[in-house]
Amino acid sequence: MSTLIVISILAIVVLYLGLFKAKEALLPVSVLGLVGALALAIMEWNSNAAPIFSGMMHFDNFAVAFSSICIITTILVFLLSKNYFEKISNNVAEYYTLILFALTGIIVMVSYHNLSMLFVGLEIMSVSLYILAGIKRKDFASNEAALKYFLMGAFSTGFLLFGIALIYGASKSFDLAVIAQYVIDRPTGIDPIFYVGLVLMIVGLCFKVGAAPFHFWTPDVYEGAPTLITAFMSTVVKIAGFAAFLRLFSICFAPLQDFWMPTLLIITILTLFVGNITALYQTNFKRMLAFSSISHAGYMLFAIVALGAASTNAIFIYAAAYAVSSITAFAVLMLVKVKTGGENFEDFNGLAKSNPFLAFALTIAMLSFAGIPLTAGFIGKFFVFNAALTQYHTWLVAIAVINAIIGVFYYFKVIVAMYFKENQTKQIATPVYFNFVLGLSLIITLVLGIYPSFITNLF
């Protein structure tokens, strides 16, 4: 709760800083505030918190873990934002504010204990993101991204809301505990509208996390939005979506696994194939990352399909690995784009000669995406597959391994471009903040890859 309050107030303080033209203070204040919020969140660890505000919010260990990872990733995004928004417009403070508002919604999404809170949190996050996707007002692609995201998002919210309404109609409550009790009390004879509501909620949530066949907005929005916002969307927002998904299913719908498992299984397989195979044909690095984020959504859905005690841990590790690698990839992309003006694979040619550190960081990130051992991505995939194997989804794991091999092809494209193709490019000047973020991500990726028990035994 204190985390939520701190972030909300921080957003308003930043808005006032913009009013008083204190541009230099924006970044330090935002980062310091977030560090404070992070500390407050971690202090709640193992405090055995009970649901507060008549069961609206439950800041349990699950919420602490996912809030922390979202706050840390947001801090990394903020560090990359130095001098980024200034190029787009004068109203820098508002962008920081909107990102912080989105984070507020995300904190609500990972700690809700009532479906009305889930809805409010999701809307706070989405509304902020619709705006952030369109902040390049003169840029046609950015406008298209914002409009498309808004229309699709509003549509998916409709599904989610209808699902919530039907579940309320059957169980007579929005409270997660009451809904769970309703399911447990009725081994047979659950109201049919409950099932309809459940399916509609799957549709709504799959829209938000960008799983196939509800992924059509993802590539265009990720490509059109400013790169920094794309980095925020594909990491923090995606993690929050999965946290909300997992929280709902593990608390409420776990006994009904026989009903929703086949649906989600098909969605998972579709997501994996669509994401990976389409990513193979991309020439634009940013668009490739968008499709790869779809395929990573597929891997994370794995842990929900095989819902069990290990699921939370598996998603947490996967999300952490995915977030740091994505941040690295987007950071390097931003630097390369400033230099060459393009986002295609060719623009990375010869990067290893001119900027060995950038190339090395990006290589590790790509290896982590592909799931090569000794990187965090491997540990994430290992835990996700392990969770699936404990429930004997052997052939599902086989499909996922095939997809992981497909993934290696397109992740290596950029590595090949950097190391084995020649290009006369001068060295890219990397700001200190970028070096710090890249170095930190690199260390996290390698440390988690080599010594994963830091976070594997959290839950």
Partner: protein, 165 residues
């Protein structure tokens, strides 16, 4: 009960007219009529607050917005492009699938036993306010952040920029 059937019949008729009229302005007018019948439904259910909100927000604000957009877009001339045959076939198959699914699910339906409400005045403004400021206080307060974010965004996107970016 007979009032319910009359109003329900009217809402279905108006809803169908929304789809079947060619002129978009007429379509919007029928939509207003549909919403009006919904308002009557809410009054029959003793949900006074919903009735008032539905009347003011949906019939008033949103429909006026709809009409404005339609007039600005100038859809009066018949500009809708013809759909290709392939699209029609796909549409027919998809619609047929939906119909089969609906009929299949209808077969399993049974009439629920009528449950008496504990509190018949649950839809009154007084009771709604009490629930909103006791049990649902946190979501209510959080909505303020939602509105603030939307407001900041609206100003940000609509305000004239001094520097040409």
């Amino acid at each position: 009960m007979s009032l319910f059937y009359v109003v329900a019949f009217l809402s279905i008729i108006f809803a169908l007219l929304v789809i079947f009229t060619k002129n978009p302005v007429h379509s919007v007018l029928y939509l207003i009529a549909t919403f009006f019948t919904f308002t009557i439904h809410y009054i029959i259910l003793n949900a006074q607050f919903l009735a008032v909100v539905n009347f003011i927000v949906y019939m008033g604000a949103i429909m006026v917005l709809f009409l404005f957009v339609l007039m600005l877009m100038n859809l009066n001339t018949d500009t809708e492009p013809m759909k290709s045959t392939l699209l029609k076939v796909v549409g027919a198959i998809a619609g047929g699938c939906l119909l089969v699914t609906l009929i299949g699910s209808m077969k399993t339906l049974s009439t629920a036993s009528t449950t008496a409400m504990d509190n018949t005045g649950i839809g009154l403004v007084e009771n709604l306010g009490k629930v909103l400021f006791s049990d649902f206080l946190l979501p209510f307060e959080l909505s303020s952040i939602l509105l603030l974010a939307a407001m900041v965004g609206a100003v940000l996107l609509a305000k004239k920029e001094n520097k040409t970016a």
